[in-house]
């Protein structure tokens, strides 16, 4: 620490020895010369009376004193100057060193205050620096325990999956050779006690001018994050399970409702056959038919339920959509009422998808049934195929809309259309706008499930009273474009 007196002290430190030396030399010189004067006088050969000789000697001595004195003073002045310059430069040096120490201390404080662990290695991989966090996170008492250690062998020796991680493959170590930085979001460091520490790290080369002299690695402890992720996954699973249970609950109550109706019809008609005596044969036949119809409804209901619920082992094969539609036309015409027309709009080139043809046909028939029911006063249903270079973003999809080109299968009606609110709900099991007895409410849910299994997506375009167009997008395994 510099004090106000330090410059003077330094000066004296430098000046004193010099002054002492000069004085010593001057004194010595004077003593030697003293004796010289007498022999000088004797050497001249001139006859001098003792009294005169003494006077001469006195004059000599005085002169000598003055000369030596002057020389000494000059020498001392010179020494003072030299001492002053030297003291000053020494002072600057001391101040610079102090500033360096301060800087270093601040940097150390900074490094030791971070959450991240930071350490540096030289070109061989030995630790040249480690901050407090680094030591703490890795379970060491202090950074000094890490200095000089081979870091990769110490903390990075094994991969997260348990396989050994050789030094020459270590991403941090190779920086010394490549000179490019590395970021890894998911890795593992090993603590002193052998336990693992999930980390994310970035490592950069340390350059002195153009030369790489080592690498520095900053890493973050991901333990809390991993824990939070695990909890999140657990919560998501629980939520999904709860949703599934709710869906199953809804399904069950819907099914119960439908079945109760079916049972009412069967039991009721049976009773009427019993209690109505002398009823005419036509009515009786009608009642028997009603019973049979109700049984069919029951069969369809269970079938639809099973199709919705089970994880079907579907048989995927290449299916050409135009062929599929053409095959379906006779049955389709049967489905529609007499007041309804069926039209076809086929894409001019073959469209091949990987699908289960039976399931796709079922989808088509479900859509046709909906179209039919949407036009109680008659209308036109058009079924068609098309090609698109990508699936629409607004589609209803299983997980994600298929990437890349798609083949389309679409059904359009001229019926009463679907409003926006209903459009969001129509894929829910048992949601139906048709009322009980017309459809199970499972048709669209079945379509949704099937298309999801085919990795496709569904788009619905409709406005109230403006008809409806349902398009099924399926990944297309062969691209056939029209020349446009």
């Amino acid at each position: 620490m510099s004090t106000p007196l330090q410059p003077y002290r330094l000066f004296l430190q430098h000046f004193a020895p010099l002054a002492f030396l000069i004085t010593l030399l001057a004194g010595g010189f004077w003593l030697i010369e003293q004796h010289g004067h007498q022999s000088l006088l004797d050497g001249t050969g001139i006859d001098i009376k003792p009294q005169q000789a003494r006077q001469l000697l006195d004059i000599f001595n005085t002169h000598q004193l003055e000369t030596i004195g002057a020389a000494t003073i000059i020498a001392l002045l010179a020494a003072a100057l030299i001492a002053w310059y030297t003291a000053r430069s020494r002072l600057n040096q001391l101040l610079a060193e102090q500033e360096n120490r301060e800087q270093l201390r601040k940097i150390e404080l900074l490094l030791d205050s971070t959450l991240e662990g930071i350490y540096a290695v030289d070109c061989v991989g030995l630790c040249t620096m480690a901050n407090r966090s680094c030591a703490q996170l890795l379970g060491y008492d202090g950074p000094h325990n890490l200095l000089g250690r081979q870091m990769h062998e110490l903390i990075h020796h094994t991969r997260p999956d348990g396989s050994p991680y050789p030094l020459d493959e270590c991403k941090i170590h190779t920086i010394v050779g490549t000179g490019s930085a590395v970021t890894t979001l998911n890795d593992v460091f090993w603590r002193k006690d052998g336990s693992s520490l999930p980390v994310a790290y970035t490592a950069h080369p340390i350059k002195d001018g153009e030369q790489i002299i080592g690498a520095v690695c900053a890493f973050m402890d991901l333990s809390e994050q991993k824990q939070a992720e695990a909890q999140m996954t657990q919560l998501e699973d629980q939520l999904r399970q709860a949703q599934k249970m709710e869906a199953i609950g809804q399904l069950a109550s819907g099914v119960a409702h439908d079945f109760n109706n079916i049972l009412q019809v069967i039991s009721g008609n049976t009773q009427l056959l019993q209690i109505v005596e002398h009823g005419d044969l036509n009515t009786q036949q009608h009642r028997l038919n009603e019973i049979i119809k109700a049984v069919e409804r029951g069969v369809n209901l269970t079938r639809a339920m099973l199709a919705f619920a089970r994880r079907q082992a579907i048989a995927l094969r290449p299916v050409e959509l135009n062929d599929l539609l053409l095959e379906s036309v006779p049955l389709a015409r049967n489905l529609l009422a007499k007041t309804q027309r069926l039209e076809l709009q086929l894409y001019p080139k073959p469209l091949t998808v990987t699908a289960d043809a039976t399931l796709l046909q079922q989808v088509l028939f479900n859509l046709l049934t909906n179209a039919r029911d949407a036009m109680p006063e008659g209308g036109t249903v058009t079924i068609g195929t098309a090609w698109s270079d990508q699936a629409p973003e607004q589609a209803v999809a299983g997980e994600q809309p298929p990437a890349g080109p798609c083949a389309l299968l679409w059904v359009q009606d001229t019926g009463h259309g679907i409003s926006a609110e209903i459009r969001d709900k129509i894929f829910e099991p048992f949601f139906s706008t048709k009322g009980v007895g017309k459809g199970t409410g499972l048709g669209l849910a079945m379509i949704y499930g099937t298309i999801k299994q085919h990795h496709g997506c569904i788009q619905i375009e409709s406005e109230p009273e403006q008809g409806c167009r349902v398009s099924i997008y399926l990944p297309c395994i062969e691209q056939h474009r029209t020349s446009s």
């Binding site: 109550s253 009412q264 009721g268 009773q271 109505v276 109700a294 007895g437």
Partner: protein
């Protein structure tokens, strides 16, 4: 011999219940949704309304709830296609809005329906809580 409005959107169920009621000599007029029921209610007088509680939509009941405001309203019997416990719940939630004379659960036999209709037609309009099935 009463005039009965039957509301159910399942045509097969309508046919059966109509058959039951006709056998007892009642006049039955059918509606397959709430809107149509409302129209019919406005066009003539009924002694009894027999209606399905359609899940999830209850537009039939919303229409009928307007009836309770009229002084000379028809009696009401509700038929539920859900579980009996659900009927109870429906009953409680609806009791706040409208007064239903009886709630029955499908499938209902001819005898049950006949008895219920007769009973309801011969009692005064209730002002207390309706009976559970």
């Amino acid at each position: 011999m009463a005039s009965i409005l039957l509301i159910d959107d399942d045509p097969q169920v309508r046919s059966v219940l109509e058959g039951f009621l006709n056998h007892d000599g009642h006049l039955v007029i059918c509606a397959d949704n709430g809107k149509e029921a409302f129209r019919l209610l406005g066009s003539r007088r009924f002694d009894l309304v027999l209606t399905d509680i359609v899940m999830p939509e209850q537009d039939g009941f919303e229409v009928i709830s307007n009836l309770t405001l009229q002084p000379d309203r028809p009696r009401i019997i509700a038929i539920s296609g859900g579980s009996s416990r659900l009927s109870q719940q429906m009953l409680l939630s609806m009791a706040a809005k409208i007064r239903i004379e009886r709630v029955l659960a499908k499938p209902i036999s001819y005898q049950q329906l006949s008895a219920a209709v007769t009973e309801v037609l011969t009692t005064a309009i209730t002002t207390t809580q309706p009976q559970a099935p």
